[in-house]
Amino acid sequence: MAAAASRISSLLSRSLASPSLHSKGRICGVGRSVVCSYSYTTAAAIEKPITPSVKVNYTKLLINGDYIDSASGKTFPTYDPRTGDVIAHVAEANVEDINRAVSAARKAFDEGPWPKMTAYERSKVLFRFADLIDEHTEELATLETWDNGKPYEQAAKVELPMISRLIRYYAGWADKIHGLTVPADSPHLVQTIHEPIGVAGQIIPWNFPLLMFAWKVAPALACGNTVVIKTAEQTPLSALYAAKLLHEAGVPAGVLNVVSGYGPTAGAALASHMQVDKLAFTGSTETGKIVLQLAAKSNLKPVTLELGGKSPFIVCKDADVDKAVELAHFALFFNQGQCCCAGSRTYVHESVYDEFLEKAKARALKRSVGDPFVAGIEQGPQIDSEQFEKIMRYIRSGVESGATLETGGQRLGDKGYYIQPTVFSNVKEDMLIAKDEIFGPVQSILKFKDINEVIKRANTTSYGLAAGVFTQDIDTANTLTRALKVGTVWVNCYDVFDAAIPFGGYKMSGQGREKGIHCLSNYLQVKAVVTPLKDPAWI
C-alpha cells in the first residue's frame, strides 16, 4: 500500500502545484470526455450534476449466494448527495432477513466447504477477487462517488487500489496463520491452534463504503470464517457489486452475505444474534456503545470497535510550515472531513502560529469544491442532510463560543450537501468544536507554547484514534510519539494507510486493531492442545 500512499501524496502534490485545476475540469468516471467549465464557489457544476454512466444492477440482499428481496418486501431509498435525489431503492433488511443471512453463514461455516478448504485455495479465491476489483475499478469507483459524494479521482486512484491491495495482503496471510508450540515446565507437548472463529457479523460506515467492506471482509475470509455484513443505509451500492465479484472469484454460497438496512433494526439484530460468533463495528462511539451492550446481553460475542476520534495534529516550532500546512489541510479535509482519524485539532506552536494560520486559511480558500465527478475537484458534498445539518450546527456553535471563523462556514449552492471548507482559529479545548467529532470540513486551529503543555492538551479528550506530529527534531518526535495516547502516530505524514499497518483506537475510539497481522486475531480462536510426553529426549 505504499503505492496507494504515494498516490495520495501525488494527488496532494498535484493539487499544490496546479491552481489551474480550479478553472477547468474534465469529467471522469464516465466514458465520455466532456469538458465543462468550473470554478470554486460559483455553483454551476453543483447545479448541473453529471449523470454517472454506471447502471445500478444490485439492490437486493445477498443471502446464500443469491440476490433476494427482503422478507417484508420493503425497500429504502439511497440518495445522491450531490442533489438529494434518489439513486435507487434498495431491499431493506430487518430481523427476519438477518436471521436468514446468519443461517446461511452458519451453514456455510459448520458444513463447509469454506473453512474446510485449504488455506491456499482460499487465498487463490481472494487473489482472484483482487484481480476482479482491479478490472472493475471504474464501475466500483463510480458507484462509490455517486452514492457517497467523494471525488471520483480519489475513489478510483486511491481507494480502489488500496482495496485490492488489502485483499491481496490478507490472501497472502491465509496460508501463514501460525500457532505456536509452547514450552511447558513439565513434560508436555503444547501447541496452539488458530481456528476460524465462526460467523462474523460486521457493520460498516458510509464514509469509505468499499474500503471498510474490504477491511472487514478480507481478514475474516482469509481466516476461514463466514460473514454477514451490514452496510450503512447511506451507501449500500458498492458492496453489493463487489460481493458479486467475490462470488465470481469462487467464494461458495453463504460465505459472504451482504444486507442493507438500518442500525436500530438490522444492525441491532446482528449485534444481538445468538448465532453470530464475533462482531466487528466501525462507526460512531455512541453506536459502538450500543453494539457492545447488545453483544454483552446476548451471547457475549467478542467485539472489535473502530469508533470516533478527535485527533490532534501537532505542528512544532521547527516544522517545515508549508508542508505542515498542506498535511494539516489534507488530514482534516480529506474525504470532506468524513474520516474517523481526521486531524480535527490542529495544534500549532506559537512561534509559527501566525504564518501557519495565514497559509492554512489560504489553502482552504483554494480548495476546489464541486461535483465529485469533475476531475480536479478536491471536495464533494457531505453524505446526507442529517450530517450536513449537524456540521452547520457545529459551525454556528464555533462562532457562538468565540472562535474566530477565518474562512468558510457557509453552505455551497442550493442543492445537495456542499459545505465551504471552514477554518476556525483561537479555538479553546472547552469549545464544542474542539471536543466533539464534527465529521465535516471544519478545521480548528489551537495555539501552544511547549511540548509538555501540548501533550497534556492533546491527551485531554475521550478519544484516542490517531495523531500527527510535525517536527524535524528526533527527540521531540520520540517524546511525542510515546506520550500521545492514540492508536496511530503519523510523524511528518498523515493518513498513511498501508494494509500492513494496524489501525485502531485507545480510550473511547474503540478496541482491537484492524489491518496488519493484528487483525487476524480478531477472527481467530486460539485452542491450546496439551498432551503428556513419555520419556521425552528434552523438554
Binding site: 491491495r165 497472502g172 528526533i474 527527540d475 510515546r482 497481522i517 513419555k534
Partner: protein, 504 residues
C-alpha cells in the same frame, strides 16, 4: 530409447516424446546470451542416453558477468527499492504464467530428468506456482521487531535483503528446487545468480524467461548453466556474492562451505544428503504402512534426499510388511516417464546409474538378502528395477551411504529405544518417519530423532509453509516456510536515546 523389453513385463515401451526446446543460452541481465567461451554442453535424455540439445556452458567469467548484473540490480535497481507488495504482485503474476505453461514445463523436466510426466504436472509444477504465491504473499509481511530496551533507549530491528544470492540447485527436482531457492530470495528483495545442475539445465531457462515476462527486472534473476567445479566454484568463492544457498550432496556442500570461508565469509545454507530412517511399529495398519514405506523410498526413482532408505520394522509386523513391499516392487512398471501407466522412469545419468548398480553389488557382497530387483532394465537408458534388501546390518555400506536410487534396506527391531538408537546412528539428519497409532510412541520418537523433519503416519508430506532442512551432516538452514526468508535477510538493529518517555 526405452522401447526394449528384455523380458521384463513391467517395462513400458511407449515412444519417447521430446518437447520443443526454446531456451538454451545463459540468462544474464535479462537477456539470453552465449557463454563467453562460446562452449556448450549436452543436455541428455536419460531414457535414450541421446542428446536433447546443446546448452551454453557457463564458466567463471560468465558467473562474473551474472554477478555484476545482480550486483547492479541490487545496489541500484528497483527490485529491493520497490515495496514488498509490488514484488509480491510480480511473483504472483509469475505463478500465473507458470500455470499457463504447465504442459510444456512438465515435459521439460520429464525429458531432461526422467521424471514422470504426469507427476510433474500434478506435483512439481503446481508446487512452483504455490511457492511463488506463498512467498509473493510473504513479501509484504517481513516484520522486524520493535524492542523492549532498558530505560532511556528506543530500538527496533530492520530485516534487510542480504544482497546478491548465489543458488546452486540439484537435478532431482529441477522445478521445485528452483523455486524453493528463488521464491523466498526474490520476496526478500535479493537478486540472484542461480546455477542449475548440469544434468537438468532446461526448465530453469524457461523460468528465467517467464520471470522476465512477469516483470522481474533485468539483472534480478540470472541463470548460468555449467558444471559445479567451474561455475559452481566461481559462485561459492565469489567476493561479490553475499550469500550462497546450496542443495546437493554432502561432499559438494563441504567444498562450497570451504570456498565461502576462504573467500568473503559469505553465509551459507546447505541442504545435503540423508539416510533417513522410517520406523514401523507393530500397531501400524499394514496396508497404510506398506504404502508409506514404498512411496517413501521409491518416489522419484529414489532420487530424493529425504528418501526413507533405512526402514526399521518392529519384529511383530516384519514378515507381513516385507511380503507386501515385495509385491509392490514387482507390480511397479518401469519405463518411459511419458507413459501414464509407468511408475518409475530412468535414473538421471550414466554415472548415477552405475553408482546405484555398484551399491547393489556391495549389498549382495556384504551379505544382505536381495528380495527383489537389483538389475537394470532394458539396454538403453538408465532404468533400474525397484530393489529391496533384507537382513541388512547397520554397518553395511548400503545402510550407511546415500545411494540416491531405488534401493531399500529393510531392518528388524524389537523395542522403541533400540529403534531410536539405531535410527540416530548416522552422520545424516534430514528426515525421519514413524508409523504407529500410539500417541506416546509418536511423541517420544519425534523428539528423540535428530532430524529436521519428522513425518508421523505419512512421508514426504512437503508443504511450502513447512520448514525443511537438516541436522548434522545433512546441512543447516531451512528452506520453505517463513524460516526460509531468514536465509535471505540481514538483521539491523537501530537504537536511539529516548527522553521523557511516560513508560519503559
Amino acid at each position: 530409447m526405452a522401447n526394449h523389453i528384455n523380458g521384463n513385463s513391467n517395462h513400458s515401451a511407449a515412444s519417447p516424446k521430446t518437447p520443443p526446446i526454446k531456451f538454451t543460452k545463459l540468462f544474464i541481465d535479462g537477456n539470453f546470451v552465449d557463454s563467453i567461451s562460446g562452449k556448450t554442453f549436452d543436455a541428455i535424455d536419460p531414457r535414450t542416453e541421446e542428446v536433447i540439445t546443446k546448452v551454453s556452458l557457463g564458466g567463471a567469467e560468465d558467473i562474473d558477468l551474472a554477478v555484476k548484473a545482480a550486483r547492479q540490480a541490487f545496489d541500484h535497481g528497483p527490485w529491493p527499492r520497490m515495496s514488498g507488495s509490488e514484488r509480491g504482485k510480480i511473483l504472483i503474476k509469475f505463478a500465473d504464467l507458470i500455470e499457463e505453461n504447465t504442459e510444456e514445463l512438465a515435459a521439460l523436466d520429464a525429458v531432461n530428468a526422467g521424471k514422470l510426466f504426469t507427476l510433474c504436472k500434478l506435483i512439481d509444477i503446481p508446487i512452483a506456482s504455490k511457492a511463488l504465491r506463498y512467498y509473493g504473499g510473504a513479501a509484504d509481511k517481513i516484520h522486524g521487531t520493535v524492542l523492549k530496551l532498558s530505560k532511556g533507549l528506543q530500538g527496533y530491528t530492520l530485516r534487510e535483503p542480504i544482497g546478491v544470492v548465489g543458488s546452486i540447485i540439484p537435478w532431482n527436482f529441477p522445478t521445485v528446487m528452483f523455486f524453493m531457492k528463488t521464491a523466498p530470495a526474490l520476496a526478500a528483495g535479493c537478486t540472484i545468480v542461480l546455477k542449475p545442475a548440469e544434468q537438468t539445465p532446461l526448465s530453469a531457462l524457461y523460468y528465467a524467461h517467464l520471470a522476465k515476462l512477469a516483470g522481474v527486472p533485468d539483472g534480478v534473476l540470472n541463470v548460468v548453466n555449467g558444471y559445479g567445479s567451474t561455475a559452481g566454484a566461481a559462485i561459492s568463492s565469489h567476493m561479490d556474492i553475499d550469500k550462497v544457498t546450496f542443495t546437493g550432496s554432502t561432499e559438494v556442500g563441504r567444498m562450497i562451505m570451504t570456498a565461502a570461508a576462504a573467500s568473503n565469509l559469505k553465509p551459507v545454507s546447505l541442504e545435503l544428503g540423508g539416510k533417513s530412517p522410517l520406523l514401523i511399529f507393530d500397531d501400524a495398519d499394514i496396508d497404510q504402512a506398506a504404502d508409506i514405506v514404498f512411496r517413501g523410498m521409491f518416489f522419484n526413482k529414489g532420487e530424493v534426499c529425504v528418501a526413507s532408505s533405512r526402514v526399521y520394522v518392529q519384529e511383530g509386523i516384519y514378515e507381513k510388511l516385507e511380503k507386501k513391499l515385495v509385491e509392490k516392487a514387482k507390480a511397479t512398471v518401469v519405463g518411459d516417464p511419458f507413459d501414464p501407466k509407468v511408475h518409475q522412469g530412468p535414473q538421471i545419468n550414466k554415472k548415477q546409474f552405475e553408482r546405484i548398480l555398484s551399491y547393489i553389488e556391495h549389498g549382495k557382497r556384504e551379505g544382505a538378502t536381495l528380495l527383489t530387483g537389483g538389475k537394470h532394465v532394458g539396454e538403453k537408458g538408465y532404468y533400474i528395477e525397484p530393489t529391496i534388501f533384507a537382513d541388512v546390518k547397520d554397518d553395511m555400506i548400503i545402510v550407511k551411504e546415500e545411494i540416491f536410487g531405488p534401493v531399500m534396506s529393510l531392518m528388524k527391531f524389537k523395542t522403541m529405544e533400540e529403534a531410536i538408537k539405531r535410527a540416530n546412528n548416522t552422520t545424516y539428519g534430514l528426515a525421519a518417519g514413524i508409523v504407529t497409532k500410539n500417541l506416546n510412541v509418536a511423541n517420544t520418537v519425534s523428539r528423540s530423532i535428530r532430524a529436521g523433519i519428522i513425518w508421523i503416519n505419512c512421508y514426504t508430506a512437503f508443504d511450502v509453509d513447512c520448514p525443511y532442512g537438516g541436522y548434522k551432516m545433512s546441512g543447516f538452514g531451512r528452506d520453505y516456510g517463513l524460516d526460509a526468508l531468514n536465509q535471505y535477510l540481514q538483521v539491523k538493529s537501530v537504537v536511539t536515546p529516548i527522553f521523557d518517555s511516560p513508560w519503559h
